[in-house]
């Protein structure tokens, strides 16, 4: 039984390892995050605005509940990096001229902070520095408020505010094309005419203070200074993404270990039942000698507990190893200065308790049977198994079946529950593989919808300030630009009843060739001339449907507040926003024919030249190349996808192997006499292998459609559990995912079947002549 015990232990190890891996990674990120936030003064409320005098700071400090306040100047700049011809931008954040920041302090990895008054010194984010192989002393160009400047890197740092560095509107970190820079307050203020003023404020609150009421009062205060709406930490972009990650890990920790532990409990049940059945006589003898029912029950329970113990020990070790590996992968995205790997003892205890409970519950019936077996009954042989014609034979297909085939089918039907549970067990292996391929398939689909069907531009250009439509003509006139369309983007708050949400309204031309809205069936729809179109998920948040009237508070310019009818809901997988006809949006803003940026299609040979020209245009704040965004997204996802696919394949293989191996061993044990008899009668090894492995093949193949179904269900559950306003994952599964899942299951099952098949070579043909059934 060594092989079977090992197979079950491997399944248990898989379950416990995934549990430990996910939970310890979550705990590690939690502890690391909390420590980093605490030690470096991560703010609790964040607000951006157009411009306010520094004197407003005192009034902010006077808001009840506010603890510490720090005002800053922030700006987005274009970069000109030697040896890198693609568009790159950065967020420039001010540092106090003297001392360190009060809040959102920097963890300096190397170098130093900036000198007061030096207008060309910057500290850069570590991820950005690593992507470009920058070290303190290196230089690069930046266009700061229309003026080109050479910046000198004096330090490389990390910040709790930018654990995740994603360009506004971006879909994933792009460390080569987006970085964070810190500059002295005076230098930055001078460049943006913000001397004695600020355009960003962060604050902390006193313990127990009501953040919502502080935000309301802060918004009131900042409203006339062009405030864009304050947010609490939970909605701060970097923190938000990290929280969503935790949500995902929690879901995975809930689902996947359960599958493995369930399968292990089933396998233990089968093995213990079989063991009790073959050891009836020994049990009878022990009871005749005076061993009690409890003694016998405990004996078998001990065996179960031993397997669980080995599974827990092995699973914890593997889980820690995988957790550290996963933590390192997360560190590529989430830029913490250090990782504090944390495995709480309670995680191992919970894993052990759940596993033990499941295993004992799974084997309760078998152990009970052993304990309660009366000695006299145990000494009698078991009554012979009852068989009948199989279902196919009852359908009249009997004449088509050879005797070995009938043996296979009738044996499966004799214990239909066991056969079904084996099928379900193997199907879980298939489901795990399907789920691992789901992310890749869904991501491919999301990228296709968002970046190939909805967006057709080669490059999107953002202007520093809203500009007149004439700017579009200027861009159209650039060598290599084939087509240009303007868009208008304004931050806004939507209200419907007591629900509200802050996002962006994007306006583009009704006759656009580059940007499409897609309905629920992903078919392009015309942008209505009036009204607003919302992302379907946003419609859900606000509980609005087409025809409802929404209150729109624009957070820019004249900050108009209007009632706008919801014209339609559209399908979008990344982010949530509203869409309007640009002319209608301009009208609502009471402004002229104004654009915030442009979408361009280009001759790709001229891309570098075009970007260089855009760098020199003061009006242009930055540019993003669509293909670069897609490529970067895949590159950043590649390692984690590979990790998950690799781990999932191993785990799926272990389940399939474990279930088939156990079934095969038990089948062999139950049928060895029969198979040996057939060998004596002249059947070849191949022919009796067909009988043994034919049954397993049927169970494995029958498991595949179930596995596809369970896998699809698992994916739908995961997609539903992780959806948020940041992204929604469609349940998309390609044929190749199903094919790979089937292949892994079939190969694992085949390997385990062949291992057991080798035992057929050692059947005791001589002994079987004398063996009673």
């Amino acid at each position: 039984m060594k092989g079977q015990a090992v197979a079950i232990i491997l399944v248990l190890v898989s379950g416990i390892a995934t549990f430990v891996m996910f939970i310890s990674t979550m705990d590690t990120l939690n502890v690391t995050r909390d420590t980093f936030y605490r030690d470096y003064g991560f703010a609790e409320i964040f607000a951006s605005l157009k411009r306010a005098p520094e004197s407003l700071r005192q009034r902010i400090e006077e808001i009840p509940g506010v603890d510490r306040v720090e005002t800053r100047v922030m700006a987005d700049v274009k970069l000109d990096i030697p040896g890198f011809s693609e568009p790159a931008t950065a967020r420039l954040v001010s540092l106090p001229d003297t001392g360190v920041s009060l809040l959102n302090r920097l963890y300096l990895r190397s170098g130093r902070l900036v000198d007061a008054g030096k207008d060309n010194e910057v500290v850069v984010s570590e991820a950005f520095a690593q992507a470009h192989k920058f070290f303190p002393g290196d230089t690069f160009g930046a266009v700061i408020n229309g003026k080109w400047r050479t910046l000198v890197i004096v330090g490389i740092a990390l910040s709790p505010e930018f654990v995740l560095q994603v360009r506004p509107g971006g879909i994933s970190p792009d460390f080569k094309r987006y970085g964070i820079l810190w500059m002295g307050r005076s230098a930055l203020a001078a460049a943006y005419d913000m001397k004695g003023a600020f355009n960003d404020v962060v604050l902390t609150v006193s313990p127990g203070a009501d953040k919502e009421s502080i935000i309301i009062r802060l918004d009131d205060l900042l409203d006339k200074y062009g405030g864009f709406g304050a947010v609490a930490r939970k909605d701060q972009m970097s923190h938000r993404f990290l929280s969503e990650e935790f949500k995902q890990l929690e879901q995975f920790a809930r689902i996947f270990p359960g599958i493995f532990i369930g399968v292990a409990a089933f396998l233990l049940n089968v093995v213990i039942s079989r063991t009790v059945s073959t050891q009836r006589e020994q049990i009878a003898a022990l009871k005749a000698f005076g061993y009690s029912n409890v003694d016998v029950g405990i004996h078998y329970a001990k065996f179960v507990l031993l397997i669980v113990l080995l599974g827990v020990l092995g699973g914890t070790a593997v889980g820690v190893w995988l957790g550290r590996g996963l933590g390192r992968i997360y560190m590529e995205f989430y830029r913490f200065p250090y990782l504090m790997y944390d495995l709480r003892p309670s995680v191992v205890i919970v894993a052990a308790l759940i596993t033990t409970g499941s295993a004992l519950l799974g084997t309760l019936q078998a152990v009970r049977q052993a304990a309660l077996l009366p000695p006299a009954q145990a000494m009698r042989p078991e009554p012979p198994a009852q068989y009948r014609q199989s279902f196919l034979e009852r359908l009249g297909l009997g004449p088509l079946l050879s005797q070995p085939s009938r043996i296979i089918l009738r044996n499966i039907e004799r214990k239909p529950v066991k056969a079904l549970l084996s099928v379900i067990g193997i199907s879980f292996a298939c489901a795990v593989m399907v789920a691992s391929g789901f992310f890749q398939d869904s991501v491919d689909f999301m990228v296709d919808v968002q970046f190939k069907r909805a967006q057709q531009e080669d490059m999107s250009v953002a202007f520093a300030e809203p500009a007149s439509r004439k700017t579009i003509h200027e861009l159209k006139g650039l060598w290599g630009v084939e087509h240009a369309e303007g868009f208008r983007a304004v931050p806004a708050r939507f209200r419907f009843g007591h629900r509200s949400y802050r996002t962006v309204i994007q306006g583009f031309d009704a006759d656009t060739h580059l940007h499409y809205l897609l309905d629920m069936k992903l078919k392009p729809i015309e942008l209505p001339a009036e009204g607003i179109v919302l992302t379907d998920y946003l419609g859900g948040i606000l509980q609005v449907k087409p025809g409802d009237n929404l209150i729109v508070e624009v957070l820019e310019g004249n900050r108009p507040v209007r009632q706008v009818q919801v014209a339609a809901l559209v399908k979008q997988y990344l982010g949530v926003m509203g869409y309007m006809d640009r002319t209608a949006l301009n009208r609502m803003m009471r402004e002229g024919d104004v654009v915030s940026g442009a979408y361009l299609t280009l001759d790709s040979r001229e891309q570098t030249h075009i970007y260089r020209t855009l760098v020199d245009m003061p009006r242009v704040a930055g540019a993003v190349v669509r293909m670069d965004e897609i490529r970067n997204f895949y590159q950043t996802q590649a390692e984690s996808m590979l990790f998950f696919t690799f781990v999932a394949t191993i785990l799926a293989g272990i389940i399939a192997f474990g279930v088939v191996y156990n079934s095969a061993r038990i089948s062999l044990s139950e049928r060895s006499r029969e198979l040996a008899s057939l060998r004596v009668l002249g059947y070849t090894r191949g022919e009796i292998s067909y009988i043994l492995l034919g049954e397993l093949s049927i169970l494995t193949l029958a498991a595949l459609p179930f596995g596809f179904f369970f896998g699809w269900g698992l994916c739908a559950y995961i997609a539903g559990a992780v959806e948020s306003d940041l992204f929604r994952i469609p349940v998309v599964l390609e044929m190749k995912t199903f094919a790979l899942a089937a292949a892994v299951v079939v190969i694992s099952a085949s390997v385990s079947g062949l291992i057991v098949r080798k035992r057929l070579d050692h059947l005791d043909l001589v002994g079987v002549l004398k063996t009673k059934e």
């Binding site: 068989y387 043996i407 029969e674 004596v680 009668l681 002249g682 059947y683 001589v766 002549l769 059934e773």
Partner: protein
């Protein structure tokens, strides 16, 4: 009247072409750790077509070992075993499987029927792979079980199961029938019914039959009785007249 025959009597006066088995100097030694067990110490024997012999001897005398080697289930340590002139001792694993498949019919002490197959199917499982089998129904009719074709072994008595096993063994039209304690698990009444089936098969089909038993009374139905003791043939006696199974009592 029984005639005691010397142990090197090769069954004359049958002609040489009727000899099915020729065994010369057959030995078999098992190694059980440090201990060597000499199961057979030099057996010389012939079995002729149509003959019914009983291998008689106490436990450990070597009768099962001899049967196993004749049946291609075990290999000799030294000596030779020829089946219709072909040396079995040099046969490969594949050749021995083919030999059992086409030429040998086995009857086990505990019937060894396939529990998931009916009586008819238990016979068909052998005829399906045989070269020149009889119809399974005919085999079952010979042993008097023409009316229980669709019953599973669990629905049949021990005697009925053993007769199905005999039908299975003869259905391939083997040259040789090897029976290891065929009545060992049965009461005397049922055992006699089984022996009658074996006797009928031997008589009607002319199949050379070797029956292992420790039951001396059964020896009365044989042409010759080979007495084994301590791995050697102690004696071979010929029955002048074979008794009918019905005349046997134990």
């Amino acid at each position: 009247m029984d005639q005691t025959i010397a142990k090197n009597d090769f069954g004359s006066p049958q002609a040489a072409e009727n000899i099915v088995f020729q065994v010369h100097g057959l030995t078999k030694v098992y190694e059980m750790g440090q201990v060597k067990v000499h199961a057979l110490r030099g057996i010389d024997l012939e079995l002729c077509s149509g003959e019914l012999i009983v291998l008689l001897g106490p436990s450990g005398s070597g009768k099962s070992t001899l049967l196993n080697i004749l049946g291609g289930l075990d290999t000799a340590t030294s000596g030779s075993v020829a089946y219709c002139g072909k040396d079995l001792t040099r046969a490969t694993e594949q050749e021995l499987t083919e030999y059992r498949r086409y030429h040998i019919g086995f009857v086990f002490q505990f019937y060894n029927l396939i529990p998931s197959l009916t009586a008819l199917e238990n016979v068909t499982v052998v005829t399906e792979i045989a070269q020149d089998p009889m119809k399974p129904e005919d085999a079952l009719a010979i042993v008097g079980l023409g009316d229980r074709l669709d019953h599973f072994p669990s629905q049949l008595s021990g005697g009925e199961q053993q007769r199905i096993a005999i039908a299975r063994a003869i259905s391939k039209n083997p040259k040789v029938l090897l029976c290891d304690e065929p009545t060992g698990a049965l009461d005397s009444g049922t055992g006699i019914v089984v022996l009658e089936a074996l006797e009928r098969v031997n008589r009607e089909l002319g199949t050379a039959t070797a029956i292992i038993t420790h039951n001396v009374d059964i020896a009365g139905m044989a042409d010759r009785v080979v007495h084994l003791s301590n791995g050697l043939i102690a004696d071979i006696t010929r029955n002048a007249q074979r008794k009918q199974p019905r005349e046997l009592h134990w």
